[in-house]
């Protein structure tokens, strides 16, 4: 599945099916600092993601 990442903006291919929390672990991303959006919908850590899903992992940290 295609996973859109930010900072810097890029797309990576990740093999599914996979739970959200496992995707974040595989990408070495901290849960508390990210949201996972499937299509237009926010999804929880236990949501299963499948091949063909459009996924965005959005960082939430801001400010200087």
């Amino acid at each position: 599945m295609q996973v859109q990442l930010s900072h810097p903006s890029r797309t990576v291919e990740v093999k599914g099916p996979k739970k959200v929390k496992d995707l974040l672990r595989e990408l070495n991303l901290v849960v508390e600092a990210h949201l996972v959006i499937k299509g237009d919908d926010l999804v929880t850590e236990d949501e299963m993601l499948y091949e063909g899903d459009q996924i965005e992992v959005r960082p939430v940290i801001s400010g200087g």
């Binding site: 930010s6 900072h7 901290v30 849960v31 508390e32 600092a33 990210h34 949201l35 959006i37 919908d41 926010l42 999804v43 929880t44 850590e45 236990d46 949501e47 959005r58 960082p59 939430v60 940290i61 801001s62 400010g63 200087g64």
Partner: protein
């Protein structure tokens, strides 16, 4: 995972509250947290005229959205810092929110453009006066928000600082033992002297992740990109450390910051209160009349230096 309130499919889990919510119940949770913050810290009453400091980011736009939905009279001020494409995008996001959401509540947007007054964007201005960009930005924003709040007769100025912002700031102050800053780390700062607006942080009970989720769920179109000037900043480093701790041990950030607030509230009152201290050292700037500890305030000094240093 299902919503703990209505049992339908959840869209967000909140480990620090041992909870998960659907969109409707999550919105209720967020609004309730803000209402509790306003009430517990005596921030403002139902009829107050509020000025929200907006940047185009998730926190400030979410704050404006929440206050309007809670029925408050809240206008906003956007400071265009002149950081190339980043400022253009953030300005566009604020304008879009004003037109599509805020205007329907009768709310207005004020805009201050740094380039119009200083003759240069924030980065060039900082170079001209040999000061770090983030510190120049902070001076300008604090000054302009206070100026508009006072000149336009707002009762209170609200900023989008969240739990993560406050916990990171507290960590920085504690790591460097900057005890003199701790008194001003509360979410509600009084208008201690004439010329200073009251400042409040109604989002201090909500985390950055919760506010990003609120923005996504309510289709608030905010700027996701980081400010290019903030890359690698200490605040971001502290937030990353705190988020690693939070993920392993949910509730760490709130225990840290709310625990600090609790201890501060139980402290024996000292001989002089913060307001008394302010009144003892602050007086009107001879150039603009905003309160300052010096003869001329740091903003006026900065603008004077910029005018002298600018190429003719």
């Amino acid at each position: 995972m299902n919503c703990i309130k209505c049992k339908i499919k959840a869209v967000i889990d909140l480990p620090r509250h041992n909870a998960a919510f659907c969109k409707g119940c999550f919105n209720g949770f967020v609004h309730d947290q803000v209402a509790r913050a306003i009430k517990s810290e005596w921030m403002f009453g139902k009829d107050a005229k509020i000025l929200v400091a907006v940047s185009g980011g998730k926190d400030s736009l979410a704050l404006w959205d929440i206050l309007l939905k809670l029925g408050y009279k809240a206008d906003a001020l956007y400071v265009n810092l002149g950081i190339g494409a980043y400022s253009e995008q953030s300005h566009a996001k604020v304008t879009k929110f004003t037109e599509t959401v805020a205007a329907a509540h009768g709310a207005a947007l004020h805009i201050h453009t740094v380039e119009q007054e200083a003759g240069a964007g924030i980065k060039e201005l900082a170079q001209l006066i040999h000061r770090p960009t983030c510190s120049t930005c902070g001076t300008i924003k604090r000054y302009q928000f206070n100026r508009v709040a006072i000149e336009q007769h707002y009762d209170v100025m609200a900023t989008g600082h969240n739990l993560d912002d406050e916990a990171a700031r507290l960590l920085g102050n504690v790591l460097h033992w900057q005890e003199e800053y701790l008194d001003k780390q509360g979410p509600s700062l009084p208008a201690s002297v004439a010329g200073f607006a009251k400042k409040v942080k109604p989002l201090f009970r909500l985390s950055e992740r919760e506010l990003a989720a609120y923005a996504v769920l309510n289709r608030i179109d905010y700027i996701v990109e980081e400010c290019p000037m903030a890359k690698g900043s200490k605040t971001i480093q502290y937030k990353e450390v705190l988020n690693r701790l939070e993920t392993e041990s949910p509730g760490t950030k709130q225990t840290f910051y709310w625990g600090f607030l609790d201890k501060q509230s139980k402290k024996q009152p000292t001989a002089t209160t913060m307001a008394e201290k302010d009144r003892a050292v602050l007086h009107p700037c001879t150039s603009c009349s905003q309160p300052t500890t010096a003869e001329v305030c740091s903003y006026c000094k900065m603008m004077a230096r910029a005018k002298t240093a600018a190429p003719h």
